[in-house]
Symmetry: C2
Subunit: 353 residues, 2 copies
């Protein structure tokens, strides 16, 4: 804070004393000082405290940036762009990335692209400028991803998380979107539903496209036609999904079941169904709902809610592991791979047998 020496260092950059000076003041070996500043593992707390105090008194700073400029030395940074950190799904994803990065002694630079490919391009250029060792990107829009191509990012390894970008030879970690949507839709068809609404995001988000594909394939395999007016895409937030489903429930050919393709659409669907239910006789049949994405409140939903569950934390960890493998073996020319993590259909206990 300003009380604590800004005046002494108007430049904001103190003159860095040496590890040796810190070691002498703390009365320990330089090795111990290095160990403490590397995280302090296997250093007695009492020594850690002495070193920390001595370092603070001397204004010692380990200069990561300087180290990162030595030829071949790594910055220890991984750049991460996420499309909407306020969505709990992406918070879990980020946590998984950070857990794996920390294990490998890396830190993450995080930027929120807010689904905007132009902002994403700026973030990536900025991260590369900071010499990140690698990039993990949730692509905002596959149709505007030139800046994510191996050519554009040059020698910086990159991994796509949660969404693919067709045509780019980049390691990608996805969940089994198609299989999960297929299983959910098939379940509803097997229960005898013939009019199943689909609620999804913009189809430019390929995750949404893949889930719609699973929905369609399930209909085809069950020889049940898709009612196109029941397929509603483009809802990025819950409010839009609620409006879309409210319209469908009021339609003369209304759905008897709903497959919502992500947690935002599921939230909107729950609200629409709850409101609809209060407007019809109590003995009207329940509108069945299965939603893609784990859902903390599934057990509390006022309408029965089955879930296509998966683990965004595991997806983040896996993406980081793929990236670290590229970072640690830069000369290995292993071709890009796509990993699909499994999903699990979790039926609401209130759902029909």
């Amino acid at each position: 804070m300003s009380e604590s020496g800004d005046d002494a260092h108007p430049s904001g950059i103190p003159r860095p004393p040496t590890v040796k000076e810190v070691a002498e003041r703390a009365g320990v070996s330089p090795m111990t000082v290095s160990r403490v500043f590397a995280g302090g593992a296997n250093v007695r707390p009492e020594l850690r405290t002495r070193v920390a105090r001595a370092a603070a008194e001397l204004g010692y700073r380990r200069n990561e940036n300087a180290r990162s400029l030595r030829p071949g030395h790594k910055s220890g940074l991984i750049g991460v762009t996420i499309t909407n950190i306020a969505n709990p799904y992406y918070a879990e994803l980020q946590r998984g990335i950070e857990d794996a990065a920390a294990k490998a002694n890396r830190r993450i630079l995080v930027g929120n692209s807010n689904e905007d490919p132009a902002l994403e391009r700026q973030l990536v250029a900025d991260f590369i400028g900071r010499r990140v060792e690698g990039l993990i990107v949730v692509p905002a829009d596959p149709a505007h991803s030139e800046h994510l191509s191996p050519e554009s990012v040059g020698t910086t390894p990159i991994v796509f998380a949660s969404r693919p970008v067709p045509g780019l030879a980049v390691d990608t970690v996805l969940v089994d979107d198609v299989g999960g949507a297929y299983a959910a839709t098939s379940r509803l068809l097997d229960e005898g539903h013939q009019r199943i609404a689909f609620l999804g995001t913009r189809t430019s988000v390929l995750t949404g496209q893949r889930r719609l594909q699973g929905y369609r394939t399930a209909h085809r395999d069950h020889n049940v036609p898709v009612y196109e007016h029941l397929v509603r895409t483009g809802q990025q937030e819950a409010a839009g999904a609620e409006r879309a489903l409210a319209e469908l429930l009021a339609h003369e050919i209304a759905p008897t079941a709903v497959f919502s393709a992500n947690n935002r659409n599921t939230l909107g669907a729950i609200r629409a169904i709850a409101r609809f239910r209060s407007s019809v006789p109590a003995d009207s049949p329940e509108v069945r709902l299965i939603g893609f994405d784990s859902f903390e409140f599934a057990d509390l939903s006022p309408v029965p809610l089955s879930i296509v569950a998966h683990d965004p934390g595991a997806l983040g960890r896996r993406a980081a592991e793929l990236l670290l493998a590229r970072i640690d073996h830069p000369t290995q020319t292993k071709s890009a791979q796509t990993v699909e993590l499994p999903v699990e259909l979790q039926l609401d206990p209130r759902a029909p047998e």
Copy 2:
């Protein structure tokens, strides 16, 4: 990726061509190139694309690290430690910090301390080593925060977000914990409740302590004694809160109302009340619940839920703004301030008049 030139640059660090070379190749002025790499504001998209392509073809990299080493030059990084990014509250907080940081052309380094002060200490030491311009910390444990003192962080400005650390002269942004808890508890007392359970986190988390204080003060001002067996603290997650409240609801002196002091405890309380309700006659009186923290699902809660609402995104933005003011005026010796953001009691429409 490995296909794209690792072999050409086994060190992972390409030889950087000059801005002038990029400008010539793109057929634009060096100034335009600089503007593009500064974010591209006021540069025609078509020029941006040409520059980006030329830069990619030449393997141009703006070297932030090198720039950050010039005396007086800033790294453009802000270090952020959060105690649990998987809690939606902190995801919103981070988003607020990042929004404000991006506006000031800064990036955030994010670390999850997982409520562990030792891990927090390592993150802070690492961030300072990377020459962050400032730190925003959600303190894991005020009793173990020596590493957060102005003396320890030296010339690096620091702001505490969401939790105070008594005794440290550090800018701090909080919500009105005491006032919010006081308003919620007073509301329940005014409704005639005499046995109000308190569900909270560890009291070593001062936010929890402050909210408990508001609960106690409201009782005192209403001349209603606190039933100490109804005060349950130490629940960091929903499952613990659910168990704690289930025990209380089975107690011979059971609560008729509950104040849950954060969103994790509220989630557990909703589950406990919902399960309890299904075990008693339908005409039994509803257990009243007011929870601290905004709650995306409040309107969908199977039990009426009133909320002490506040905006974690605004808290994050405010913390970043305080920090940026310190960064931009390092010689200003303005003493540390604590900002308390307002809260709003939002009553469930199902709540009594």
